[in-house]
């Protein structure tokens, strides 16, 4: 199992550690609810250094990215970020990722920790363009500083004007005395804030600087537990749960990042799905009766016939409701549809709702 550059810091803070994607990661420090509320109401910090980063450069870098990703990366300009996914040749998703355009011939890709090797191999396999590829995952640390007070705390640490960096844009600058930090207005919480990419040797310095700057706002270290509840309230997909090697982005509600303005791997299949309609759809589920939907629970109709499966679920700390995501047959996908979750052989009433939940 791998450690991040900050694992020893998490342990010294008394974090509960769990293995995740081959890394020894903090799942919580003070408790999921408290950490969740810190991000929604003030500011919290996640060590997400397990994430993977690739640098693609060369005159044909864009061509390779256009081939392997579903979104239209030609729309990017320098300093902009795009959420995208990579499709396989069997109708599913290799991974979802962020594509950063550093310059017209240099891109930074951020992928899920569990898929680093798979993604690297997949992109390499399609690199008939002579694009120079560099896997900097093992050298890069990433802190996500999230919440409404994040910008106030972080602005103290840099001369870069953070308010001039829009959502899904980034700057590269000196931060907390560290040169060449990627300062990215992105995150996985829906509460605003920045993600900061640094070299491993600078991670600890950055961590302590951020905590000092955030002290007046009650800044809180946050683990993977609340990362999940935060993203789920916003219905952000989690690879391995809500999307995987067998789900189409069209079925997953990711049509908005699937652009048929250019061909990409297996794009004809997804285009046809979009035109002829999907058989199953990823929907939001809210429990009506008491119960919490969990991954792999079956979704059934009133008669007990199976109509789908839960892919993610939790008790929402903000809404104080049990919520989840799951695939259902298209005829049950309209908001308001009554469905039942099979919780330990009992059918518990739920309904399909619009997402995001919050």
């Amino acid at each position: 199992m791998q450690n991040t550059s900050l694992t020893h810091v998490h342990q010294s803070l008394g974090a509960k550690m769990v293995p995740f994607a081959g890394f020894n990661m903090p799942v919580s420090y003070a408790g999921i609810t408290q950490e969740h509320n810190a991000v929604r109401n003030s500011v919290g910090v996640f060590d997400v250094s397990h994430m993977g980063e690739f640098i693609l450069s060369g005159p044909k870098a864009l061509d390779l990215i256009q081939l392997v990703t579903t979104n239209d990366a030609s729309k990017l300009t320098d300093g902009k970020v795009q959420y995208s996914c990579m499709t396989n040749d069997q109708g599913g998703i290799v991974d979802d990722l962020l594509v950063y355009r550093i310059s017209a011939e240099k891109y930074y890709l951020v992928v899920n920790a569990s898929n680093i090797e798979k993604d690297w191999n997949w992109i390499s396999q399609h690199n008939s363009f002579g694009v120079e590829m560099k896997n900097v995952s093992a050298d890069t640390s990433l802190l996500a500083v999230q919440g409404p007070d994040a910008i106030k705390a972080l602005q103290k640490l840099t001369d870069a004007d953070l308010s001039a960096i829009p959502y899904y844009a980034f700057a590269i600058g000196t931060f907390a005395g560290i040169a060449d930090v990627i300062i990215s207005n992105t995150g996985y919480t829906g509460s605003g804030g920045f993600e900061l990419y640094v070299k491993n040797e600078d991670a600890e310095k950055l961590w302590y600087a951020v905590f000092e700057a955030g002290n007046e706002f009650g800044i809180q270290p946050c683990g993977l537990g609340c990362r999940d509840t935060l993203r789920l309230e916003k219905a952000f997909c989690l690879y391995g749960n809500d999307i995987n090697d067998t789900t189409s982005p069209i079925e997953a509600g990711l049509g908005w990042i699937t652009k048929f303005t250019k061909p990409f791997v297996h794009s004809d299949y997804h285009k046809q799905l979009k035109e002829t309609g999907v058989k199953k759809k990823l929907v939001g589920i809210e429990m009506v009766d008491r119960g919490i939907p969990r991954q792999h629970y079956k979704i059934k109709d009133a008669a007990g016939n199976e109509i789908g499966e839960v892919t993610s679920g939790t008790q929402s700390p903000t809404l104080n409701k049990a919520i989840g995501l799951g695939y259902v047959k298209t005829e049950f996908s309209a908001p308001g549809s009554e469905v039942y979750i099979d919780i330990r052989n009992a059918l518990v009433k739920a309904k399909v709702v619009k997402t995001p939940f919050l």
């Binding site: 509960k16 537990g225 999940d228 008491r290 969990r294 939790t314 008790q315």
Partner: protein, 126 residues
């Protein structure tokens, strides 16, 4: 973590406090810490006679769900209704306000198979 010496403990992380023929049962400080923030405790076995080490309910935390195992055979005579309004009692006060059920113990001999606080601490490695 706290493990009162007047209680008996099971491998499945339940505790029991014995008064006469009645046992009060809950989950240990270790268990509540492992589960994290508890959302509710679901017990539909009041009035039932449940075998030793059988499931008498479930506890739902934000992150996970876990079965509850009865440390001794007995009849479930009471559920702590206070948990419906304040499930967080299980996290804050697992041996007090966070108790879950009371049972009429079928056989006092079942208690002999349970651990004392010191043995339980070794069991969980603290």
């Amino acid at each position: 973590m706290n493990f009162p010496s007047d209680l008996k403990y099971s491998k499945e992380h339940e505790w029991i406090r014995v008064e006469g023929n009645t046992g009060t049962i809950g989950i240990t400080d270790f268990a509540q810490n492992e589960l994290g923030d508890i959302v509710y405790v679901d017990i539909n076995t009041v009035g039932d006679t449940v075998a030793k080490d059988s499931v008498f309910g479930t506890v739902e935390a934000v992150k996970t769900v876990s079965d509850l195992y009865l440390p001794v055979a007995g009849k479930i005579v009471e559920f702590n209704k206070g948990l419906d309004a304040a499930p967080e009692s299980v996290n804050k006060d697992p041996y007090g306000a966070g108790w879950m059920v009371k049972v009429e113990i079928t056989s006092a001999a079942d208690l002999d198979s349970l651990m004392d606080a010191e043995t339980y601490k070794k069991h969980i490695g603290v």
